[in-house]
Symmetry: C2
Subunit: 332 residues, 2 copies
C-alpha cells in the first residue's frame, strides 16, 4: 500500500462532496480512521450513489449535511476551516443527459464553480481534489492513455466533467485556490450503487454473479479496460492530496495492468461460485458506441505521488462480493 | 468578396441570438439585404453590445425579441421553422467573470444547451452556427494557430465559450442537430459597443483616435494579432453556413496577414487625422497576462468554404471611423 500520506490527515479537517456515494463514502471511512474530522455534503440525488448505509461504521464520527453543491450559502459555510476539499459530487449518469442535460450543466459546471467561489472567498487555503473521468478523453487512438492525450468528450456528462476540472485549474491559476484533477477509470468495489448499470458495468457484473444470473458479454469480451479496486482509488486520492507538487496538475488514476470484460466476468463468476457467462453479438448500436480498448498510463501519478494500485483482480472482486453478500439488502 | 453563399439565404428563415450586438447586428443587416426573414433574440445585457440603433436600417424588416437564451419557452418557440440559427449570444466580458462567474456558466453553457434542446425537440432540421473565440486556445506555442491546436482556456469566459462549442458538437454527433463552431479572432468595425475596452482593444483604439486622445501602446507594440474587419467576418459566417460540409467542424475565422498593435494604432491615427501614440512600459501584471503573438491559420475555412478576408486594415479602419463619426451619439 502507498504510505506516503501517513500523518497528513490526522487532526485535519476535510470536506467531501458526494460523500455518501461510492467513492466518497469509502474515502470518508478511511479519513475518519486516519483521524481526520470529516464533513460530508451529499444531496442524495435519486438514482445516484448516495446511501446512508455506506457510512454506517463511522456515522458517529462524521458530520453529514444533506445539502447541494449548487447551494452557495451552504457551501460558503461548509468550506470554512477545511484543510482539504474532496469534490466528488456530480451528475455522473452518462445516459441520463440524453433526456435531461440540465443536471449535468447545473451540478457539474455551476455546482463546481459555486464550490470554488466558496473556497476563494471563504477559505482560500483549502486544497481541492476534484475527481474527473477517463470519459473526458473520449475514444482514443492509442493505449495506454496519458494525461496529455487530447480530450474529446462524447456526451454532456463527460463534457461537463471536463469543464469542471478546467474550472478548478482556472481557480488554481487565477485565484490561488490550489486544486488538482484526478481522472478516474473503471472503479469497482464496496458501497457502489447496485440498482442499475449506468455508472459502469464492473459492479453490475458482480451483482449478476451474486444473484446467480447470466452476465452478458458482447462480442469476444476482449476489449481492454483498467478496472481499479476502490481501496486503491482511495489510496491514490489520499496520496495525491498529501503531495504539494500534485496541485495544479491532472493525473490519471487507473491501472496499467489492463484486463478485459471477459476476464472480469470469469474471475467474478469463479470467486462468487455463481452466475454464468452469456456471449452475445454486438448490436449495431452498441458496436457504434463501443470506444475500443482503454487503459490508463499512470506513470505521472506514480512518479509524482508514489502511488500504484496494489490489489489483484481476484482479491478486489473477493472483498467486493463478501461485502455485498453481507449487506445486499442495503443495495438492491 | 466571397460569393459562394449567393442565393442560400434568399427567402430563408434565420434566427440570430445576440442579434442586437456587434457581430449579430451586422449579420442581421446583411441577411435582410439578402432577402432572409430575420428574427433577432437579444437580452440587452447591461455593459454588453446590445444596441437597438445597430439595426436601425432594417428595423422594419426584422423581428426583434428582447428575450434570453436561458428562457427555454422562448427558445422552444423561436427556433421553430428556422433554416439557420446563428448563435452569437454570450457573456463575453473576459474581465467580469473574475467578480461574477455565474453569468458565464449560465448564459454560455446553460443557455447554449437550452438553445440546442430547443432545436433538438422543436426543429431538428435547423443548422446552428456557433461563434466561439480564439481565447479557447489560450497562450499558444506557435503561430499561425490551426484548429487542431490544443485548447487551453485561461479564464471562465474562454472555458465556457469552449464548452458551448463542444456542446454544439455533441448535439451534432448524438442528436442530429447540425452545427459548426467558428472561432473568431479580433474583430473590429461598425456597431461594436464603444463604452469600454473589455471586449477587445481594436475598436477602443478607434474611439480614442476619434476623440483625439492618446492611444497607449505597451512595450514596443509589435506583438502580432490578426485584426479582422466586420464585413469579412460576416462573409465568413454566411459562406460557412451555406456549406454543407462545414457542419460538424470547427473553423478559425481570422486573418492570416497578421498586424500588430502599433500598426493598428498608427493606421487609425493616420486615417482619423486625430489621436496620438503614447508608448508605455508593460506593468508586471500586464506583462504576465500578455499571451504573446497570435494569428490564425485560416487554411481550413479557406479550403472548405472558399472564404478569405478581403479588406485591408486601412479600408476597414476608414469605414469604421466614418460610421462612428456619423453615429457617435449612439455609442458613447
Amino acid at each position: 500500500m502507498t504510505k506516503r500520506h501517513n500523518g497528513a490527515f490526522e487532526g485535519s479537517s476535510v470536506l467531501i462532496t458526494g460523500g455518501l456515494g461510492f467513492i466518497g463514502s469509502n474515502l470518508a471511512i478511511r479519513l475518519v480512521e486516519l483521524g481526520a474530522e470529516v464533513t460530508i455534503v451529499d444531496n442524495m440525488l435519486p438514482e445516484h450513489g448516495g446511501n446512508e448505509f455506506n457510512i454506517e461504521q463511522v456515522i458517529d464520527r462524521a458530520e453529514v449535511d444533506i445539502s447541494d453543491i449548487r447551494d452557495a450559502e451552504s457551501m460558503n459555510y461548509r468550506v470554512q476551516g477545511k484543510d482539504f476539499v474532496f469534490h466528488l459530487a456530480g451528475q455522473n449518469d452518462h445516459i441520463r443527459n440524453f433526456t435531461d442535460p440540465y443536471l449535468d450543466v447545473d451540478i457539474n459546471v455551476r455546482g463546481t464553480v459555486v464550490l470554488l467561489e466558496a473556497c476563494r472567498h471563504h477559505n482560500p487555503d483549502a486544497r481541492v481534489i476534484y475527481t474527473g473521468t477517463r470519459g473526458e478523453y473520449g475514444a482514443v487512438e492509442k493505449v495506454p492513455v496519458a494525461e496529455d492525450t487530447r480530450t474529446n468528450p462524447k456526451g454532456l456528462y463527460e463534457l461537463t466533467s471536463l469543464t469542471a476540472g478546467r474550472a478548478c485549474a482556472i481557480y488554481h491559476e487565477n485565484h490561488g485556490v490550489r486544486s488538482m484533477t484526478l481522472r478516474l477509470t473503471n472503479v469497482y468495489g464496496e458501497r457502489s450503487q447496485m440498482r442499475h448499470a449506468r455508472f459502469g458495468v464492473a459492479n453490475w457484473f458482480i451483482r449478476l454473479a451474486i444473484d446467480d444470473e447470466p452476465i452478458k458479454i458482447f462480442g469476444t469480451g476482449t476489449i481492454k479496460r483498467d478496472f481499479l479496486y476502490i481501496d486503491d482509488c482511495v489510496d491514490a486520492m489520499l496520496a495525491a492530496a498529501a503531495t504539494d507538487e500534485a496541485y495544479g496538475e491532472v493525473f490519471n488514476v487507473g491501472n496499467d495492468t489492463p484486463s478485459n470484460f471477459l476476464e472480469f466476468a470469469n474471475v467474478t463468476i469463479d470467486v462468487a461460485g455463481s452466475g454464468s457467462l452469456e456471449m452475445v453479438e454486438f448490436t449495431p448500436e452498441r458496436a457504434a458506441q463501443e470506444p475500443g480498448d482503454y487503459y490508463s498510463d499512470i506513470s505521472k501519478i506514480s512518479r509524482t505521488v508514489g502511488w500504484r494500485p496494489q490489489t489483484s483482480l481476484t482479491d478486489g472482486i473477493q472483498r467486493t462480493i463478501e461485502f455485498y453478500r453481507a449487506n445486499k439488502r442495503h443495495y438492491w
